[in-house]
């Protein structure tokens, strides 16, 4: 029986993948020393020459990964903070995403980019961003956002084994916060599937990352008040599991989408549009989004950070309103 944190799940899975397959290697800033979050701790010693420090240049980290993958390796690139990935946006979105498509499927690009995202750690303006909406918009890159250690294990493995680019997002606040007994826990092995983590008949809450854990805590609180929530653990932004999302929406007719990212153009908008298109006749209330405010970045000050981020109380309040509607 193994209890693991999110961080241990990531580290163990990386080690297992390198053990299994010589073509897997890790590159990124300070990864030889274990990385700022210690996700690659000890790997450089175990796998000499396969954990490679890079210059501080995300465009080259991703560009080099493209080259490695094209010539038969399976690179797993670490971006130190998701906020800095945008320097590599062109490499990821203009090159990597199109590799398979523009060669009519002749060339594949088995690469993974790992990035710690999200707030709640007083990371301030350049270390707290949510990036799933930027990259979830790009066909050709899969974007994975697990919440529980068991899914981190199964989906990181799936990402490394996937023949094409996967952006694997790790919520940094949950690294050491979330623990789970992984043996026997549900673990999604297929990228592009969501899971109904809890079933209830009053309100459906859809969330990912830290917000999923807050949503589950809110659902627990609400159950004591007699409001039963269905909670969807999104797991994947691209591809989007429209079927599971709509099934969960139909179950209650009342939907609350929660994300840390700012409201306008956040990925919740895509989920809301999907439900409006495919489950319209089952809706019994307007679809609601509970998100970060449209402010340029997450503030550093604890009180202001708290103002920015949804939490279990706010989720419960919004769900209560929907239930009563």
């Amino acid at each position: 029986m193994a209890e693991m944190t999110v961080l241990e799940a990531v580290r163990t899975t990386l080690a297992e993948a390198m053990e299994r397959d010589d073509r897997v290697l890790i590159l990124g800033e300070d990864v030889e020393a274990g990385g700022v979050f210690r996700a690659t701790d000890g790997l450089a010693g175990r796998f000499p020459g396969r954990v490679i420090d890079t210059p501080l240049a995300e465009s080259s980290i991703i560009g080099v990964s493209i080259g490695l993958a094209h010539y038969g390796m399976r690179p797993v690139a670490e971006i130190q903070f998701a906020d800095f990935i945008h320097a590599g946006f062109d490499q990821l979105c203009s090159e990597a995403s199109r590799w398979c498509y523009r060669t009519c499927g002749d060339a594949w690009l088995p690469m993974v980019v790992r990035a710690p995202w999200g707030g709640g750690v007083h990371g301030g303006q350049h270390h707290s961003q949510s990036i799933e909406a930027f990259y979830g918009h790009i066909p050709g890159i899969k974007v994975v956002v697990p919440s529980f250690p068991a899914d981190y294990r199964s989906l990181l493995r799936a990402a490394i084994e996937d023949p094409n680019p996967v952006l694997f997002l790790e919520h940094k606040r949950t690294y050491r916060l979330i623990r789970q007994e992984v043996d026997g826990a549900p673990a999604e092995t297929r990228i592009g599937r969501s899971r109904i983590a809890r079933r209830g008949e009053d309100v459906t809450i859809i969330a990912w990352g830290l917000m999923l854990h807050e949503a589950l805590a809110a659902a627990e609180q609400l159950a004591a008040e007699g409001v039963e929530c269905t909670v969807v653990d999104l797991l994947s932004v691209q591809p989007l599991d429209r079927e599971t999302i709509c099934e969960a929406a139909k179950a209650t007719g009342k939907v609350l989408i929660v994300h840390e990212d700012t409201l306008t153009g956040g990925f919740g908008a895509e989920i809301a549009a999907t439900i409006a298109e495919e489950a319209f006749e089952y809706l019994d209330a307007p679809i609601r989004r509970l998100c970060g405010p449209d402010i340029p970045s997450m503030p550093y000050h604890p009180a202001m950070e708290h103002f920015f981020m949804p939490d279990r109380e706010r989720i419960a309040a919004a769900a209560r309103e929907l239930a009563a509607y």
Partner: protein, 398 residues
């Protein structure tokens, strides 16, 4: 009479736990009900006084029929019915209980959500007759559902459907003689339906179990203190084969085949009180350890009669471990509305001819499949079994 399970149409009162005139608390058990699937205690939907028992002990009534009348505690007449369906059980005609709500409550423009309109059309309901319990008296989806339930039984009063309680331990086993009751009768009716409605074909393959048993032994090393059988591994292999041949993972109802994306695997469990088929929900999302643990839990609760309605619903495919009885070949009956059922027969050590034309002793088991020939042909069944056999023999599953 609450609907304790899909396809359940009636229930029998086994015993009243409260007499007329007794006070009842919210959720306090008021009577014991036996349906064809489960035996359950009915929690009171409201707190108050039991005024009248409408269905005496031993009588069977249709789902939706009123069982008793409860006078709700501290309800002045004419209050806006915040929980109209529950107070309606007190015998007041629906729509009178909260006559004031339509006029006295802050008026909200009559707006009907898409869900409400769809349900109203489906059940032929005049929405102006429905009492709204939502914001500002809005008619909610639940209001329409409750109204439809009341309308369906043609009465003005209806009890609320109680949440499914766990199965209580009341006797319903095979009767020593006389008419079949409860669980036994359900089994009879289900199998009668299976036989009558489904043209079933049967096919069998031989599978070498060496690789699967090796994986079982490895799993046994990891799981101490619990005996690991071949069954969870077999189920994992079935899941991986079903994913490749989804047509077998389906429900066929009202002439419509619905292939399910979730693998909800029913497992036939023989108990002292009859056969029951608890369901491993979304089995594809579980590791083999997870399957083993879930299976243990379901079997234990089945034997102890602690399964809830949710545990036995929604199956999309059934696995039967007939080998447990020592059988080496059997012809299972498809569990309607599913379209296929597979058995794992006894694993026996037998001489087999190997690839090098030598004779070796190997563990072998038969795997039998019955399927609904209306929705698929031998080709589908054969392909599924071929995949299943290949996965088990190579040990590549789960």
């Amino acid at each position: 009479m609450p609907q304790l399970g899909e396809s359940v149409t009636e229930g029998t009162i086994i015993a009243w736990k409260k007499a007329e005139g007794d006070l009842v608390e919210l959720d306090e058990p008021i009577c014991e009900i036996e349906t064809e699937k489960v035996t359950a205690e009915l929690p009171s939907p409201v707190a108050g006084r039991l005024v009248r028992i409408l269905v005496p002990q031993g009588e069977t009534v249709a789902v939706g029929a009123p069982l008793c009348e409860i006078e709700e505690a501290g309800v002045p007449a004419g209050r806006p019915a915040a929980d109209a369906p529950a107070s309606a059980a007190a015998g007041a005609p629906a729509g009178e209980a909260g006559a004031a709500a339509g006029t006295g409550a802050p008026s909200r423009r009559r707006f009907y959500s898409p869900a409400v309109q769809r349900l109203a059309e489906l059940h032929g309901i005049d929405l102006s007759q429905v009492q709204g319990t939502g914001l500002g008296g809005r008619v909610t989806r639940k209001d329409v559902e409750a109204f439809a339930a009341r309308q369906a039984q043609g009465a003005k009063a209806a009890p609320t459907a109680a949440p499914a309680p766990p199965v209580a331990a009341a006797g319903a086993g095979p009767a020593p003689g006389g008419p079949l009751t409860g669980v036994r009768r359900t089994i009879a009716e289900n199998l009668e339906r299976s036989s009558r409605e489904i043209p079933q074909a049967w096919t069998m393959v031989e599978v070498e179990m060496t690789a699967l048993l090796a994986r079982r032994d490895a799993l046994q090393q990891r799981i101490a203190g619990r005996k690991v059988t071949a069954l969870p591994l077999f189920i994992a292999a079935v899941c991986s084969a079903l994913r490749e041949h989804p047509v077998l993972n389906a429900r066929f109802e009202q002439g419509e085949l619905r292939v399910s994306r979730e693998l909800n695997i029913g497992v036939a469990v023989a108990t002292d009180w009859g056969l029951v088929v608890p369901v491993i929900k979304d089995a594809a999302s579980l590791s083999i350890e997870g399957l083993a643990a879930r299976l243990d839990d379901l079997v234990t609760r089945a034997r102890e009669r602690r399964l809830s309605v949710g545990d036995v619903e929604g199956g999309t495919f059934t696995v039967n471990n007939t080998g447990a009885f020592g059988s080496i070949a059997s012809k299972p009956l498809v569990n309607p509305p599913q379209v296929a059922i597979v058995t794992l027969e006894r694993i026996v050590r037998r001489p087999v001819v190997t690839g090098e034309d030598a004779i070796a002793v190997r563990p072998v088991a038969n795997v039998c499949l019955s399927f609904d020939h209306r929705v698929m042909d031998g080709l589908d069944a054969g392909r599924f079994l071929a995949t299943l056999k290949a996965r088990i023999e190579a040990g590549t599953f789960g």
